[in-house]
Subunit: 372 residues, 2 copies
């Protein structure tokens, strides 16, 4: 496939960081929640090496927040997810598969509990707000539901903690994984969580107001100069190696959380009130018949995966799954991939064949992600 | 702004026509309903002249269909829109503003009534499916709600009827505006409506199954060769001249249908059951205080409108509206624009100032669209 330009318009929203991102030399974008998301600065491969060695600043404003506030906020949140939220304390972030009444995935956000009656749902690429509003209206819940102008900025990489401590102070080091603190920056308190869409460690700063965007960006760049900080973005190669799923790529409404390997985030027995609970109880008991797996696709670097690539039992036309994300991994010296594989072939070490744009490729199902 | 590449992935879905679109020389895309939408072939201006003189074939697969089927389908449809659907007959297409409980626009689809208990909602750029499913679940309605694999192909331009009659037969000529017929193509019956996102006349073919996509594209191209048929796409210049609104550009959840100038599609008194009716009753009585207007922005061709441009009372810092779409119009020899203008300044002929990226421009509010 040739390269195509992305036509700009208001509908494809810019972010408070877009001017800085473009000055930093962004090469390509995708559109995510009707907003620009950078996809490459130097190149996916150069960005990947840098992310694993140094520290990067990522404009992930497209992780929009749905704010749910009010007397019924906790009830509504539990309706959305099969994860049991009863013991969730303010200050915590939970990865929360969200499902419809059939158990189909609608989004896989991080839920941030700001207070007993106030949450942010930090969403992947779907207008989950519409579902949340529909349920709240249908059940006459006492909640306000809004999209506040909060623009997350991620700081990722092995030097992330060092850089963050220079900007926000040493207390950043005390923040535990998937917890947040409110830390001062230029007279405002920002929500800062230890989280992010990589396995290299790091933080996400939930920026508001937007006026602080460029001062924050500039502070990170200035104080990280000797750490070789650079602008970056979620990296396709690293996220596939780490089996970090992408909603719309690796899973859709067609899939249950169990199929997505997210069963550990489902407390189907105790998540009373989840609208998908009835549908998921059976799956939880019997287990899924297909599931997300990492795969190694042999041979030369593959083309990007634009449509799912069917997986076949070797030498046959029997389809046993599909690949939905793939990229060449310099560190593992093979193509790494994420796919949905049927029970009959999902055991680690099983050989299958992926139908790539340039023909069938022998592929090996992995026991686990390439990086854990 | 520089040009940026769009990074391909499965999440940004290709359409059954994408291979043909690329072979036809598409230059740029946008992303619309998580799907590729072409934005230019030769250039917006060359495409514009061709559209107004000849006939074009547009891949508008991104106008996804929400199918609502079942005993409560009509009840659910009326919940979604303030347009009175009681007298809508099968075979009709209605432009239907869809609103939330506050009267805020969620989408502005065309609703296609296939049968008494079966509708397609042909959507603009938002996951309206989530709202429809949320309401159906909350009210325990007896409906099935799906996104069938229907890919609309538009045939637009003054020669559209001639071309369509060559492919589908003379009965195409009998289809009235915003009505549809089922017409045979290679052994299948396709829904063919007289509609489309231009003022040049034409049709939309609701293609299914996807296997017919390339045969249909090729038939239109072959039989239209002497009509100078070309691949095209919704044209920014022409749609602004015609004041065809774009959800996400010219209107958002912040706006009521009345503000969007869509009051004629609202029967607020009789649309009993519409969830936004209570909120809209007051607006319908009192009228909005700001409304969509066409504007002429003087001077040289303007840059694309990426963020709303504030409109000011001349020589002041008093904001009286904003521009959300703008382009140079060769036929009107001025920049044409769409904006939201306050009551105090919305009368045709009023002079205001638009804050464009290269400074303030005198702008004249129009009485109506440039082309009707």
């Amino acid at each position: 496939m040739r390269n195509f330009n992305l036509t700009p318009s208001r509908r494809v929203r810019r972010t408070p960081f877009s001017d800085r991102v473009e000055r930093a030399g962004v090469e390509a974008y995708t559109v995510y929640n009707h907003m620009l998301l950078p996809t490459a600065f130097q190149s996916a491969e150069a960005d990947y090496h840098h992310l694993k060695r140094h520290v990067q600043v990522w404009d992930v404003s497209c992780q929009r927040q749905i704010e749910v506030r009010g007397r019924d906020a906790s009830r509504l949140l539990q309706m959305l997810t099969p994860r049991d939220l009863r013991s969730m304390m303010p200050g915590r972030c939970y990865y929360t598969p969200m499902v419809d009444e059939t158990g189909g995935m609608l989004n896989d956000p991080v839920t941030v509990k700001l207070a007993e009656d106030r949450y942010w749902i930090s969403i992947a690429d779907s207008d989950l707000l519409f579902w949340v509003k529909g349920l709240a209206y249908g059940f006459r819940l006492e909640v306000d539901i809004t999209e506040p102008d909060v623009s997350p900025l991620a700081v990722q990489g092995p030097q992330a903690e060092e850089l963050m401590s220079r900007v926000f102070g040493a207390s950043v080091r005390e923040i535990r994984f998937f917890r947040f603190s409110r830390l001062p920056f230029q007279g405002q308190e920002l929500v800062v969580a230890r989280s992010g869409y990589s396995k290299q460690g790091g933080f996400e700063i939930y920026l508001e107001p937007a006026e602080l965007a460029e001062p924050l960006w500039d502070a990170l760049m200035t104080k990280g100069a000797d750490l070789q900080v650079k602008a970056g973005c979620p990296n396709l190669i690293e996220r596939i190696e780490a089996q970090l799923l992408s909603y719309g790529n690796d899973m859709t409404r067609e899939n249950t959380p169990q199929e997505c390997g997210l069963g550990r985030f489902c407390d189907t027995l105790t998540a009373i009130g989840c609208v998908g609970r009835d549908a998921l109880l059976r799956t939880a008991m019997e287990g899924p018949v297909r599931q997300i797996r990492s795969l190694a696709v042999e041979g030369d670097p593959v083309a990007p995966c634009l449509d799912p690539w069917p997986l076949f039992a070797p030498g046959t036309t029997t389809q046993v799954g599909q690949v939905t994300s793939a990229a060449w991994s310099p560190d593992f010296n093979t193509n790494v991939a994420i796919g949905m594989v049927q029970l009959s072939h999902w055991t680690g070490g099983t050989q299958v064949e992926a139908e790539t744009p340039d023909g069938r490729r022998t592929s090996i199902v992995q026991n686990s992600a390439f990086i854990q």
